[in-house]
Amino acid sequence: MGKHLGFYINSSICTGCKACQVACKDKNDLPVGMLWRRVVQYGGGAWQPHPTIKHLATPNNIFVYSFSMSCNHCENPACVNVCPTGAMTKRADGIVVINQDQCVGCRYCEWACPYGAPQFDEAKGVMTKCNFCEDLLAQGQNPVCVDACVMRAIEFGDLAALRGKYGMVNAIEPLPPSNLTNPAIVLTPHRHTEFSGKGTGKILTLEQEV
């Protein structure tokens, strides 16, 4: 198998600043309500009343971590398989792209994708999604999210090489188990990370940020 591009996200140093999200939105001129790259904040725990002292509460396992998520250009993409028109395709380099001239706007890919990657453009009536900044790649540049990250928490490259360098973690809460689609992503988990299926927290990202 040839080269398969993928993203690496270092959740252990991600501050949740959303520079990648904003850079992506700006570069791709995305309308309100649409984010091809999103910073997800996931947290849990609670304040616990002190057993003896009245009105005193102590934090109990309170945690929060952030990571950045776009289309994962999965090795077995659910969106490509279900698309009835064949508008969604996987390129030889692993990038999953959508041909909007073919798209019928049925939103079936949106149902199938467990990462919320394909998003519907109400104005055009077709689906849109992260294209790995294929235009920038063609010019030898980095995807805009990679360069925008102030923490250098996003990298991209050959998936096998990224896995060799950073390991195999690709399913942390609130992401689904990776066996659904084999996402082309490698994550360095935050020290408080809960792995997929073991979640006790919830998504804390604010909806009004889009």
Binding site: M69, T85, V104, Y108, Y115, L175
Partner: protein, 305 residues
């Protein structure tokens, strides 16, 4: 819920009703031929056949409202290799074509009786494949409340239940037509129609039994698996609607089914027979629409939205 999902509710309900009607009419036709011959059977079913095409056409028109870019709709059958949605559309179009070919052959009496039967059988098999594809569209691991064996089972029960009761309504309408031509309705045709309606009533009661097994089973499977959140929404937020759905189907297919059976036994109670058969169809149709609404309204997605 938005317009798009109502388009899907309309499409799936109407397409399933037309498949069910076609199959039920075929079965009735087969038995009437054996009992009273081709001529009587044709007279009984040719007019009922009239209702099926428009129902399917209406459903398919509604499905277009679900699309963001309907101009590309014709491209939606190009990914038959992996997409169940492609297969659903393919079988939908194929069923419409096969059904239309059969209807024209039947009305114009083209070809022999046996050839027409083969065409009808082929159309019915395509209809079964259509309903199977419709169910498979919803069987995705990311939608655990849909990804259950009860999805195809309930689609098939809905198909047959709506088919049976729609044909019941069609037979009653046909009965009035025959009666208007032949006052008193002493002809063999009227006896056959009443017999058919009795079997329709029996079938609707049996199918009600299936529905009352599958619906609780689907909730149990949801609650036991990844879709427990869906089961919770169904029980709490939509509990009243879920109960209403079961009550409507019970009253229509069960209680009115018994009335239809009794009233169809003898001539002279045609007025009540008609009211009950129409009401049974209407109640079950509304019940199934509510059921399909709940199917879409209670689904949950795993992973990121």
């Amino acid at each position: 819920m938005n317009v798009r999902e109502w388009a899907l509710i309309t499409f799936t309900i109407l397409a399933q009703m037309s498949v069910g009607s076609f199959i039920v009419l075929g079965i009735v036709h087969y038995f009437v031929v054996r009992k009273s011959g081709e001529k009587q059977a044709d007279e009984l079913s040719d007019r009922a056949l009239l209702a099926i095409g428009p129902v399917l056409a209406l459903g398919m028109a509604a499905s277009l409202l679900h699309l963001g870019n309907p101009i590309n709709a014709y491209k939606a059958v190009t990914n038959l290799g992996t997409s169940w949605l492609s297969r659903e559309i393919f079988f939908g179009v194929l069923f419409a074509v096969a059904g239309a070919v059969f209807a024209v052959m039947q009305w114009k009496k083209i070809a022999t009786f046996t050839v027409r039967n083969v065409v009808a059988l082929v159309a019915a098999v395509i209809g079964v494949a259509l309903v199977y594809s419709m169910a498979q569209v919803y069987m995705m691991p990311t939608r655990p409340a849909w990804n259950l064996v009860t999805t195809p089972l309930s689609f098939y029960v809905t198909t047959l239940l709506l088919g049976v009761l729609a044909m019941g309504a069609a037979f009653v309408a046909n009965y009035w037509y025959v009666q208007s031509k032949n006052p008193g309705c002493a002809s063999e045709q009227c006896v056959l129609l009443r017999d058919s309606l009795r079997w329709i009533a029996v079938a609707s009661i049996v199918l009600l039994g299936f529905q009352f097994v599958i619906q609780p089973l689907s909730v149990a499977l949801m609650a036991a698996g990844e879709a427990s959140a869906s089961a919770e929404i169904l029980a709490n937020e939509f509990g009243v609607l879920f109960a209403l759905r079961l009550v409507l189907v019970f009253l229509g297919a069960g209680v009115l089914g018994i009335f239809v059976y009794r009233e169809a036994q003898n001539a002279g109670r045609e007025k009540m027979l008609a009211i009950d058969a129409y009401a049974a169809f209407a109640l079950v149709l509304v019940g199934e629409i509510v059921g399909r609404f709940l199917f879409y309204a209670t689904t949950m997605k795993i992973g990121l939205q």
